[in-house]
């Protein structure tokens, strides 16, 4: 059974316009379809100039992160049936606007690089796998499900006011390695985040948790790092 939907989309053409404008598209869609299906249909049948990112279409690549009715979310994971008939779509806030729903992801990925986002273990590797008990892995299990869609960081009011702040995503990435029992760079990595631009800038506003399409409790991870830093007497 189809229903009528209005997609109200913030548009911006960097080659012809100085400021963004709003445009509305009317579509007849099924409630079980995704917001992404609507965007694809608009592009293919109504307006070829509408620009957005997409790839996997089932919540694992993170390409189609946009703001839907004021909330950062993946368009491929948002069902029309869960939303009102009138949808407002905007690009993610806080990242530089490129065109329509596309933002520049570079500043986001740069933040990530600052926390040494890779496993470091310089000990001679054993013949076989390094052992890791399921209990030890449990500590990092949520953090490894992050898809780096940037919904969290661009939902964070602290990041809105300070683009030098590492933000929830990069901090989560630091957690992912600090608490991995196989990593040996805990101290160094902790020093990179336990500073006024990192952990201590987080005010536990929980917007990141609300925005995360993978249901990661990002704030809890940051809090655990704060505790560890305090134990290690790292106050920045």
């Amino acid at each position: 059974m189809t229903r009528d939907y209005v997609f109200r989309i913030r548009r911006f053409d960097p080659e012809g316009e100085a400021v963004p404008r709003w445009q509305e598209y009317a579509l007849s869609m099924e409630p079980g379809e995704r917001v992404l299906d609507g965007l694809l249909r608009i592009k293919e049948t109504l307006d070829g100039t509408l620009t957005f990112r997409r790839s996997c279409a089932h919540g694992i690549c993170g390409s189609c992160a946009v703001m839907i009715n004021g909330r950062n979310a993946l368009a491929c994971q948002s069902l029309l049936g869960d939303l009102p008939g009138r949808l407002t779509l905007e690009p993610l806030p806080a990242l530089p606007l490129v065109k329509d729903l596309v933002v520049d992801m570079e500043p986001f990925f740069r933040l990530n690089e600052l926390v040494m986002p890779y496993l470091i273990n310089t000990e001679e590797p054993p013949e076989r796998e390094r052992l890791q008990a399921p209990g030890e892995q449990l500590k990092v299990l949520q953090s490894i499900t992050c898809i780096m869609c940037s919904c969290c960081t661009s939902a964070c009011p602290v990041y809105w006011s300070d683009r030098e702040y590492l933000g929830p995503s990069a901090l989560l990435k630091a957690y992912r390695f600090i608490f991995d029992s196989r990593d040996r760079a805990e101290g160094e990595r902790l020093r990179k985040v336990a500073n006024p631009r990192g952990l201590w800038r987080c005010h536990s506003i929980y917007n990141c948790v609300e925005a995360c399409p993978k249901g990661i409790d990002v704030t809890r991870h940051i809090t655990e790092m704060k505790r560890l830093a305090v134990r290690r007497r790292l106050r920045g």
Binding site: K43, G48, C56, A57, I60, C61, E113, D180
Partner: protein, 579 residues
Amino acid sequence: MRRHLTRHTLDAVVIGSGLAGLSAAIEAARAGSVAVLTKLYPTRSHSGAAQGGIAAALGNEEPDSPEWHLYDSVKGSDFLGDQDAIEVMCEDAVRTVVGLEHMGVPFSRTPEGKIAQRRFGGHTRDFGAAPIRRACYSADRTGHAILFALFEQSERAGVRFFPEFQVLDIVLGDGRCRGVIALEIATGQVHVFNTRAVLVASGGYGRIFKTTSNAHASTGDCLSILYKAGLPLEDMEFFQFHPTGLYRLGILVTEGARGEGGVLLNGRGERFMERYAPAIKDLAPRDMVSRAVMTEIREGRGIGGREFVHLDLRHIERKVLEERLPEITAFSKLYMGIDPAEAPIPVEPTAHYAMGGIPTDRDGRVLADETGRTVEGLYAAGECACLSVHGANRLGCNSLLDTVVFGRRAGAAMRPALEELPRGEVGREDTSRARERIERALNSRTGERPGAVRAELERTMMQSCSVFRSAGGLTALAGELADIKERARFVSLQDKGRRFNTELLDALELSHLVDLAEAVVHSALARTESRGAHFREDHPARDDKEWLKHTFVYKAGKGVRCAYKPVAVTRFQPEERKY
């Protein structure tokens, strides 16, 4: 467009940042400067959507051996796989998985802390006796876990990334590869990369079909670019359908679900796989299960007589579902409104994996023809390449293994080239040609929209060239394709801008998809037998006398030309494939 042309001089360019490209880049970066070009961001490659696992005879859960893995892969391939190459892959599997673990991949663990393993289709002990636990996994996000670890380690290794760069041309000439021309999507600027070596690791092209597990980005651009340049593609008739795609959406529901005990049920509530593969039932290889599902549906035994069957996980403990299959549990709830612990999941076969692709040798060198001649400075690995280790049908978990093993081998094979080969030069005429193509697409004002033509392509391919095929259907399809190809040439765009013009990308991708569809259909029409994923209703039997050989399809004028190469048979003589 700004006329300015940006030139880059690097030792090697890797196209694609999935598992194969990153594995290769890490290796090659030890010998020189390496750039990775991707039309997405590196963490967004379709490798990240791989769910179930990576195969290796670790023997962590029960005794296993690389020889059994070899046998399973050869038999799974319906004896079309090259056994010398499969042997390399299976022998290297244990070292590969251990190496990934050392790089930081969070594999799921046994209680003792070792890498856990589970059952998967076609994985057996003692040469087919019974199912075995060989798949190493990270819950049901194995590809995601490996992709992130490889991306992280490649950044650490100093690999340079060019995200959101769409490759326009891979420049060949004077018997070698000279470089790459690419479009910077954000600005519309053309970039030239002069290099000593190029590795193509650009993934699959499931988007030629309507129902597919593949990402929107999986359009086979680089295969088509090389094919247009006169190089052959190998075994294109073999396209794998995964039996359990989410009904209507095609989203993959991992075979790991059956590995954990899930069963398929038809409209009468019967476990129908018992009739098709009495020994290993629901864990039969994908080609057999896909045909079984389609047969049930065609004979009216779909659920309520409709076009799907049920994947039943209700008897599996909720804790196991949450720990080992959390992703599919989450998206079954989201997209179908179904909790797999309480209701069965509606599934149908979905286009999943291209066994065919750019022909290579075991070190990733691209073959210029069926005689084994190579193209200097050009390499390929991963789903876009064809070794062939998967033959006519790939076993689950062998694709991740293939990408890492042969990605790494190709990267290592590039190292001497990075020191010895002179740097190639991309000429002015090459860049003008690429630019003209863009201008033509932007300025066309009379044709249809790209989406409309692509929908037609996907529909016809699905109808006549999927799980079941026949001469009649394929011949008609070949005719329709010629027409679709003409329409694709003249699509017109509404977006005339230079910056982030995704409609332009749609048009470029469409031109690649129609080429690949043509290669698939003509290869399939020529092969008058049934083997693995290629099932001809008018020739239902396998014909080893005539067809134990690989297809090499070339562009020839307006049509195609097929040539053939014998299969490498070393250890196991072809036998009837029963499970």
